[in-house]
């Protein structure tokens, strides 16, 4: 790796994206274990919440007819 490319990678580092990537991998594992979520819809974003939420990893989508 060159210094420039390492710096580019450091610039790409992001706590938010790391967390999002970790969540994606967790979803992948959940799917592979048969506990995956069904399709997210356009109708309401009752989506993945922090632990403690009533419905844990329940997921939905969203749309604007309201």
């Amino acid at each position: 790796m060159t210094i420039a490319s390492i710096n580019e990678l450091r610039a790409a580092d992001s706590a938010v994206l790391r967390a999002a990537l970790a969540r994606a991998h967790a979803r992948l594992l959940a799917e592979q274990s048969g506990a995956g979520n069904s399709v997210f819809t356009e109708h309401s974003s009752h989506s993945e919440h922090a632990s403690g939420h009533w419905f844990g990893a329940a997921t939905e989508g969203a749309d604007g007819a309201t």
Binding site: L9, R27, H46, A65, T66
Partner: protein, 389 residues
């Protein structure tokens, strides 16, 4: 032979709205069937819906189902009738099945009584808000042309402060006239667990508004600006559903949002008169587009699954245009949201009217994730520490 069981049931509990948002597919686009439908879902429809869902759960041994109270504005149904509806659902659906209930609302009607109903019935609440007052009021006005922003924000604050476990999400519709970062930050200020950005409903016969003579992916660039603002945060505070699903699809998660990816769509819409419909946003395409000619009074949900229009949405790649099937982004894009593919001449076998925008945002997210995964791999191998500089 039927497809993947349905697991999400969109109940159009109110056929009217106290707002008059000019982009709303219910009232302002091609389909005008709302004029012929009851203002509210009646008790006999609710009873039959609950029974049909319960039968579907039993027939397919479903571990969990979701019911989304939708409209119009679903809170027009009132707290008492909503509570009764939830009780009917919970009474009918086997206790061994996890039933989650959510509502998609403009939030303007939320009161203490509603908070009690949300709490007692464990209803999660997702709000529609397009950003700051100025951004929101481009479209989201009441029937008198007055702003809805303050009332919506008051509703959000009530739920967030008094019933945070019910606070689910904020949905915004993209408008190119609004600054993407300002929209993102104004929504983030409401601290939703989840944000969603929807593209305005459009199709090839009624394309989205774009800068004049501009064929560049303006919506994709708008979304990319939001993505960059989100990614630049110092900590993970909220999900942005579209972006996280692109990330998920990129790492191989099979499930997807309805508007991305190739997973079978497993939701169904029940109108206030008991009609079963496939995708209500198809109202944007042409009058009668969502109709399946099915009703909860005469048909179970397996009949809906067997309907060609529903089966088509479970067929993934097979139902897409030739262009989509040859595209190297198709696993992530999935052809985009069905209503956005429509044209009079080609039906739904077209690329999305947002094709260039979807390609732009997917590539944008992908480029950041490739860098990030490379970085993580290097750190894991100790490569960063040993590198000069």
């Amino acid at each position: 032979m039927t497809g993947r069981p349905l697991s999400t049931f969109i109940l159009k509990v109110a056929g009217r709205c106290n707002l008059d948002c000019d982009y709303c597919y219910m009232y302002h686009l091609a389909d005008q069937s709302w004029r012929e439908r009851p203002k509210f879902m009646t008790a006999d429809v609710v009873e039959r819906v609950a029974s049909r869902i319960a039968t579907h759960v039993r027939n397919h041994d479903l571990r969990s189902v979701r019911v989304i109270l939708h409209g119009g504005e679903p809170l027009l149904l009132g707290p008492d009738r909503t509570a009764h509806l939830c009780e009917q659902l919970r009474r009918a659906i086997p206790a061994s099945t996890d039933l989650s209930i959510g509502v998609q609302t403009n939030g303007t009607l939320i009161t203490r009584d509603w908070l009690r109903v949300f709490e007692a019935n464990r209803i999660t609440v997702s709000f529609s808000l397009d950003g700051s007052e100025e951004a929101n009021d481009r479209h989201r006005l009441d029937h008198g042309g007055r702003s809805s922003w303050e009332a919506t924000v008051r509703g959000i604050e009530m739920v967030r402060e008094h019933l945070p476990e019910a606070y689910s999400a904020i949905l915004a519709v993209v408008d190119l006239d609004n600054d993407p970062v300002e929209v993102y930050e104004s929504i983030a200020a409401q601290s939703p667990p989840v944000m969603e950005f929807n593209l305005p409903h459009a199709h090839h016969d009624a394309p989205p508004r774009r800068p004049r003579h501009c064929i560049e992916p303006a919506y994709g660039r708008w979304l990319a600006a939001v993505f960059d603002a989100w990614a630049a945060g110092s900590e993970y505070r909220h999900s942005i559903r579209m972006f996280e699903h692109i990330i998920g699809l990129e790492v191989g998660v099979a499930n997807s949002v309805e508007s991305l990816g190739l997973a079978p769509v497993d939701l169904i819409v029940i109108e206030s008169d008991g009609s079963i419909e496939g995708v209500d946003a198809l109202k944007a395409a042409y009058h009668g587009a969502p109709s399946l000619d099915l009703s909860v009074f005469d048909h179970d949900f397996d009949a809906a699954l067997a309907h060609p229009a529903v089966a088509a949405r479970q067929s993934g790649l097979a139902e897409l245009s030739d262009v989509c099937r040859r595209c190297n982004l198709v696993d992530t894009c999935g052809g985009g949201y069905l209503p956005h593919r429509y044209s009079t001449t080609g039906g739904f076998r077209n690329v999305s009217v947002y094709c260039a925008d979807l390609a732009f945002i997917i590539r944008h997210v992908r480029s950041r994730m490739v860098d990030l995964q490379q970085l993580i791999a290097m750190e894991t191998a100790g490569g960063i520490e040993s590198a000069p500089g």
